[in-house]
Each structure stands twice: as structure tokens, then as C-alpha cells.
């Protein structure tokens, strides 16, 4: 990520002196999980732009130096565009002149979105505490994810960007035995704390290889056991999808099974095609006692496998078109970029194609390159 694409926020908006019951107009970055994402709008208003002396500085290439101004009038927020190049939007509608920014509405500037909240200082304190708790939970989930692997017969890299503070995606990979490798990606329906807790529970069992009476080398057995253990009736109505694969380096055979999930994609070294690596089984947890099928594919030397959650391709692009997996296949088969990792290249390709603002779903992408 280049420095110009990084987003930093410097704010001169200070917390104002107020009685505990007084309500303050706040602009809260909704795609930022830091505890300093909230900016209080004072009586003098705030200017938003890419560089100081703006009060809220967003280092985003789509934000103009002096982008828009938010003021208080009759205890309402009003927003004016300051002749920005890419425009200012309120709930998706481009601002012309000066328009109200109602409580709960979203102010969109470049790739960033700020929500108007009207909170008491007590609510702000409470919200800050919740933010800190969610940040700790998010850090815990991130810590469970495996580090990228730069050496060995299989090199891996990944990008994981939850669309909410806690997502429902999780993945892992590693060795099951000498020459036997495993990789998996699970996607719990929905996001938030409930989905994250189920994702962590499943991931922990897979990490520990601790499924009872199950050969972890058999994707069909693994899915069957998970389906037995995680019926949605016993999981607050949550179910999940999974891709689970086991690769034997001696035979170059990859055994895999999908539980309700789209296929992974295998790209041979000549990058001529993206071969689906998936089969059809029901989502995990919907029906008790069902069996799951697995399938196999030979992995050619130098091939890459792309394993991803549906949030990677289920986006609405800037023309309003809904993407599907063939759009992602097209992006994957585009030439690689010298000095840029595949996961980073694809994340930025998708991010640039999608409508501004937070992605609609969790973005989890794992790329594995085979010797």
C-alpha cells in the first residue's frame, strides 16, 4: 500500500466542555476500528480535507485538500462541498450547495464514510469502552490467523479485512504430517460478535486438529463431523460454509470438500486459466446426519491456489453492477505486478472497483504457491 493511499486522521476538533446530559454532534468513521474514529463537531464547524489546516484530515487520494465543511445550524448538521474533485455524498446522493446531514446519515468522502451520531458524553464514554472491547476481540481473532509463509514447498500470503469490527471469516493452514498440508477457510453467515465467536470456535478445533474420531486428512470426514458438532439449532441459528483441502506433496494430489462454499481457484504457471477447485455440499449446520462428498485434483508444479470468502467477489462496482465469481477470475488472470504480492494486488483491484465506503462483506483471501 503506497503512502498516499494510507488514510490517517488528524483532528483539531476537541471534546467540548459540556454537561453530561448534553448531546454532541459527532462524525464517526464507520470503516475505521480505532478508538479515535469519533470527531465532535463544535460550534465553529469542521472542515474536512486531505491536508491541514483541515480539522479532520483524511489522507486519501480521492479526497481534495479542502473537501467539504460541516456546520451546526439550528442544532442540525449542514454539509457544504467546497468544490472537491470527486464530490461529497450524503447517503449516496451528491451534495449540491448546502444540505442537511440528518442524525444516522452517512457522509461519504473519497473512500471514507462518516456517520452522524448525536450522543451524550455518557454515551460517548460507553461507546468508547465498547470500541476498546471490540478492538481487543478483533486483535484476538487476528492473532489466531497463521503467519504468511515465505519459505518451503508451499508459500502462503493472505489479506483479511472484516467489514465490521468483528467478522465471520476465519482461515488457517499448516502441516498435518511430513509432506501433508492442510488449508481451510470458513465463513459464518453474517458478521458481528456472534458470527466471530462461532468462527473462533470452529477455527480453534481445526487448528488443534481436535475433531473427535475424525481423520483430518479426509475433507469429507472433517465436514461430516463439523456438521454434527455445529448444528444451527444449537448455535443460535448460525451456520457456516467451509472450504477444506489436504495436499500430499509426494503425489501432488489435493483432496478437497466445500460445505456450501464456492470453489477455490487453481491457476497453472502459464496463467492461462483459473480452474475451479470445489464440489457441492450443503452448508454446515443446516441438516443433521447428512454425508459430505470430497473430490481431488492434481496440482501442477508452480501452480497457485486462491482461496477466498464470498466478500472478495460479491461487490457492487462503481457502475452499479453486481459482481460474481467470473469477475474475480478475470482479475486473478490479469498480469501480476512486479514487486506487489498477489493478495495485495487483488485487494486493491477489488477495492478500486467497488463503490466507495466499507466493503459489503468480510474480505478474506489466501494465496498459496506450490513448488
Amino acid at each position: 500500500m503506497s503512502e498516499t493511499e494510507q488514510t490517517q486522521i488528524i483532528t483539531l476538533a476537541r471534546a467540548l466542555d459540556s454537561a453530561p446530559g448534553d448531546r454532541l454532534h459527532c462524525l464517526e468513521l464507520i470503516d475505521c476500528f480505532d478508538t479515535d474514529r469519533r470527531h465532535v463537531v463544535g460550534p465553529l464547524g469542521v472542515k474536512i480535507g486531505r491536508t491541514p489546516p483541515a480539522d479532520i484530515v483524511l489522507l486519501d487520494s480521492e479526497v481534495s485538500r479542502s473537501h467539504c465543511f460541516v456546520a451546526i445550524a439550528n442544532n442540525e448538521l449542514m454539509v457544504s462541498d467546497l468544490g472537491s474533485t470527486n464530490g461529497t455524498y450524503v447517503d449516496g446522493v451528491r451534495v449540491e450547495g448546502t444540505v442537511p446531514l440528518p442524525v444516522g446519515s452517512v457522509l461519504q468522502i473519497g473512500k471514507r464514510s462518516l456517520q452522524h451520531e448525536f450522543r451524550t458524553t455518557a454515551e460517548i464514554s460507553q461507546s468508547d469502552e465498547l470500541d476498546r472491547e471490540l478492538q481487543r476481540a478483533s486483535a484476538y481473532i487476528q492473532a489466531l490467523l497463521p503467519p504468511p509463509s515465505r519459505d518451503g514447498p508451499i508459500r502462503t500470503d493472505w489479506v483479511h479485512v472484516p467489514c465490521a469490527r468483528l467478522g465471520g471469516d476465519a482461515f488457517g493452514y499448516g502441516q498435518l504430517a511430513d509432506d501433508v498440508f492442510v488449508a481451510y477457510l470458513i465463513d459464518v453467515a453474517g458478521h458481528g460478535a456472534g458470527a466471530a465467536m462461532l468462527a473462533v470456535a470452529v477455527m480453534s478445533q481445526l487448528r488443534q486438529r481436535s475433531l473427535p474420531n475424525t481423520d483430518m486428512r479426509s475433507p469429507a470426514q472433517v465436514l461430516t463431523t463439523l456438521n454434527r458438532l455445529y448444528q444451527m439449532d444449537e448455535q443460535a441459528g448460525l451456520f457456516f460454509t467451509i472450504w477444506y483441502g489436504v495436499y500430499d506433496a509426494r503425489t501432488r494430489r489435493l483432496d478437497y470438500a466445500c460445505g456450501g462454499q464456492h470453489p477455490a481457484l487453481l491457476v497453472p504457471p502459464d496463467r492461462s486459466q483459473a480452474i475451479p477447485v470445489g464440489n457441492r455440499n450443503l452448508v454446515i449446520g443446516a441438516v443433521p446426519g447428512i454425508g459430505f462428498k470430497q473430490a481431488s485434483i492434481d496440482v501442477p508444479p508452480g501452480a497457485l491456489i486462491y482461496l477466498f470468502s464470498d466478500g472478495v467477489f460479491e461487490i457492487t462496482d462503481r457502475t452499479g453492477r453486481q459482481w460474481n465469481m467470473s469477475d474475480l477470475e478475470r482479475c486473478i488472470l490479469e498480469p501480476r505486478v512486479e514487486g506487489v504480492g498477489e493478495t495485495e494486488r487483488l485487494f486493491h483491484t477489488v477495492r478500486e472497483a467497488a463503490v466507495p465506503g466499507p466493503l459489503e462483506d468480510d474480505f478474506s483471501l489466501v494465496v498459496a504457491q506450490f513448488d
Binding site: H191, G237, G260, H262, A286, V287, I290, Q322, N324, E360
Partner: protein, 114 residues
């Protein structure tokens, strides 16, 4: 997401419109809670998906939940008219193991009455 629910000769017909994404499915007024509450569980139902432009995993859950609730009282659920993008997602979810998936309303009604 918006929906219209009607009764067609003893079969509940639910026509869904728009995106079944996470936000719309969780909507208090027109989301899964409303859908689930307004589908009688004791009679068969069909879902018209022809005006659904997108379905996320929570949308799939909404349909599966409903099918399971109907199944508990011996009734069936069928859906029809899904576009290619939506059908791709339903196919990967292998939803056919829980819900009848057909092309037309007539086929759907016949399937749930059979």
C-alpha cells in the same frame, strides 16, 4: 429487500424484491424477522426470486430457516425464478437439499402440493 406475501389457493406466495444482503435481511421492518413471522408454517409456500438481484449468506439462512420451520409441520417450500448470479450462490450452498428449486411459479406450486 421488499416483499409481498399473499395466499394463492392454500399456498403462501412470497415475492421478494431487491437485494437480500446483510443489511436488508437484518432490517427490523422488512427483513428476515418479518418474513419468518408472515409465512404460515402449516401450509406450503413458494418464493418468487425473479426480482432478487443479490443474495448474501444471511439471505440463504433466511430461506433455510423458513424451509426447516415448514418442514417441521410437514409443509414444503419451493423457490423459483432466480437469476444466474443468485442461482450460482444457491447452487454452491446446495440449497436443493433443503428447498425445492424450480424455474416457474407453476412448477413451484406443483412441487409443494405434490
Amino acid at each position: 429487500m421488499q416483499m409481498q406475501i399473499s395466499d394463492v389457493g392454500g399456498v403462501t406466495k412470497a415475492a421478494l424484491f431487491g437485494r437480500l444482503d446483510s443489511r436488508s435481511v437484518r432490517d427490523d421492518d422488512q427483513g428476515e424477522a418479518y418474513f419468518f413471522a408472515h409465512i404460515p408454517k402449516e401450509q406450503p409456500a413458494v418464493v418468487d426470486m425473479s426480482d432478487v438481484s443479490f443474495i448474501a449468506s444471511l439471505g440463504v439462512r433466511m430461506l433455510i430457516d423458513t424451509a426447516r420451520a415448514l418442514d417441521r409441520s410437514g409443509a414444503k417450500l419451493a423457490l423459483y425464478g432466480a437469476n444466474d448470479n443468485v442461482m450460482d450462490i444457491l447452487k454452491w450452498a446446495e440449497i436443493r437439499q433443503v428447498i425445492l428449486v424450480v424455474d416457474t411459479e407453476a412448477e413451484a406450486v406443483a412441487a409443494v402440493m405434490g
